[in-house]
């Protein structure tokens, strides 16, 4: 697996995600993510409060059909372990001890899902639930290295995927982007004009820790992976003027 040290591994893909106009676009983005991270699969799966399901990703269509036909939703330890949860889950930590779960795992591996997986559950509004998963075939050490290096990006990406999917849900008017508070605007504006974090914190009379949390929060609202990206987006949206 390849790692890119400095540039965000999602370079360019978040822009494509933000510009996605239809659910089909999420499919091509999940394929691009798989290629970018050099793993076997990326999958996004959602279940609305009403029980409607939508999925996209790189699993083989035959496997998806088989999963439905066999009723694996009721057996899959990943679903059992993630539903109603909000923390990321390494598949190895789940309970695979039942005979049904072990048979399911063998079948999944035979269909090229991989022996490793990492899933991020997302609780959306009004009972919506989604799961963002990356899976791969490698040994435990390589997988731990991968998830440790990319956990943060994967968590953020999972939530951005879900935000977009909610926007694109048929019959739903997109929510207005969460506005930034004056404090967040001030912080990003000062960073945009070249202040260091310490200078921004001093100017706003807050600690650097508080500043980090404000920036983290603004970054999430802007759908950005890092601070530079957040500043660029805030300028592009007219949220800040420099």
């Amino acid at each position: 697996m390849g790692y890119v040290a400095d540039t965000p591994a999602t370079d360019g893909l978040l822009e494509r995600l933000e510009q996605a106009k239809a659910l089909e676009d999420l499919q091509t983005i999940s394929e691009a993510l798989r290629d970018r991270y050099r793993v076997d699969h990326f999958v996004y799966h959602w279940v609305s409060a009403g029980g409607e399901q939508y999925g996209c990703g790189t699993y083989d269509a035959a496997w998806v059909q088989r999963y439905v036909d066999k009723g694996y939703l009721r057996i899959d330890p990943v679903i059992q372990g993630c539903y109603q949860r909000f923390h990321p889950v390494d598949w190895k930590r789940l309970d695979w001890s039942s005979r049904a779960a072990r048979a399911f795992r063998r079948d999944a591996i035979a269909h090229g899902i991989g022996n490793q997986g990492y899933s991020i559950p997302i609780r959306g509004p009004n009972g919506q639930f989604a799961l963002f998963t990356v899976s791969h075939n490698c040994d435990d050490a390589a997988w731990e290295e991968f998830t440790t290096a990319h956990r943060r990006d994967l968590i953020l990406m999972a939530h951005y995927f879900n935000k977009k999917a909610l926007d694109l849900e048929p019959g739903r008017s997109p929510e207005a982007a969460q506005p930034l508070s004056p404090r967040e605007v001030e912080a990003l504006t000062l960073l945009a004009v070249g202040y260091s974090r310490a200078q921004v914190a001093q100017t706003l009379s807050i600690s650097e820790h508080t500043l980090r949390v404000y920036i983290e929060s603004a970054r999430f609202k802007l759908g950005a992976m890092n601070t530079t990206h957040a500043v660029a987006r805030a300028i592009a949206r007219g949220s800040i003027v420099v």
Binding site: R93, R152, S217, F220
Partner: protein, 211 residues
């Protein structure tokens, strides 16, 4: 021991569950005088308990609640963003990397290391799940306790006076603070890790390439 239990799994721990909610009533209504809702069984709950939060609970040797706190993601409904925006500089704190910690509660007669054990567990959650900060709501008495155990939050803002004073604060993670808290709790890091893994599954032992 420390238990990590989601609300929808609490029924498997009836004594722990009941004593947690009655101890919360004792702390927040009786001792602090907060306007909280207590049912006929003497249990304190609010709207956020209905959102399937993750409770981190110190279970005493007799199986009763010794202390607890309640964790929720800030990407969904949470107390800080719905009730305390005036204490966060108006910033709606929202990120999957920031969780909310509320209802930090200590039973009257719990072991002295309980608060430290809960903070230690909070650190396990951060490391295990990629949480970078907690934003918490706590009463004024906790400020001294947090300081004593070496895990002071950064206070963003406070309201009220005396027993009714409520603050919003932030915690980050640092290995040094985690070590201080472990020492203060008298709990070995390996033990703390084992409790976390008992709740969320153990990573299998690393198999060497030669195996």
């Amino acid at each position: 021991m420390i238990r990590y239990i989601h609300a929808n799994d609490l029924d498997a721990f009836p004594l722990l569950k009941r004593t947690m909610f009655t101890d919360r009533a004792d702390q927040f209504r009786n001792r602090l005088g907060w306007a909280v809702t207590v049912d006929e069984a003497g249990e304190e709950r609010d709207d956020y308990d209905a959102l399937n939060p993750l409770y981190v609970i110190w279970e005493r040797a007799d199986g009763r609640h010794g202390g607890s706190m309640r964790l929720l993601p800030t990407t969904g409904r949470c107390m800080v963003n719905e009730h305390f925006l005036h204490l966060t500089g108006g910033v709606r704190i929202e990120s999957p990397l920031i969780w909310e910690c509320t209802r930090f509660c200590l039973a009257r007669e719990t072991e002295p290391g309980t608060a430290s054990a809960l903070m230690l567990a909070g650190g396990e959650v951060m490391q295990g799940f990629g949480v970078e900060h907690y934003v918490g709501v706590f009463d004024s008495r906790m400020v001294r306790i947090y300081r004593r155990i070496g895990a002071s939050p950064e206070v963003l803002g406070s309201q009220g006076d005396g027993r009714e004073k409520v603050s919003v604060g932030l915690w980050g993670f640092s290995a040094e603070a985690q070590a201080r808290v472990a020492a203060s709790a008298g709990i070995a890091p390996g033990q703390s890790r084992a409790w976390f893994e008992a709740a969320f599954g153990a990573a299998p032992a690393r198999v060497s390439a030669a195996a």
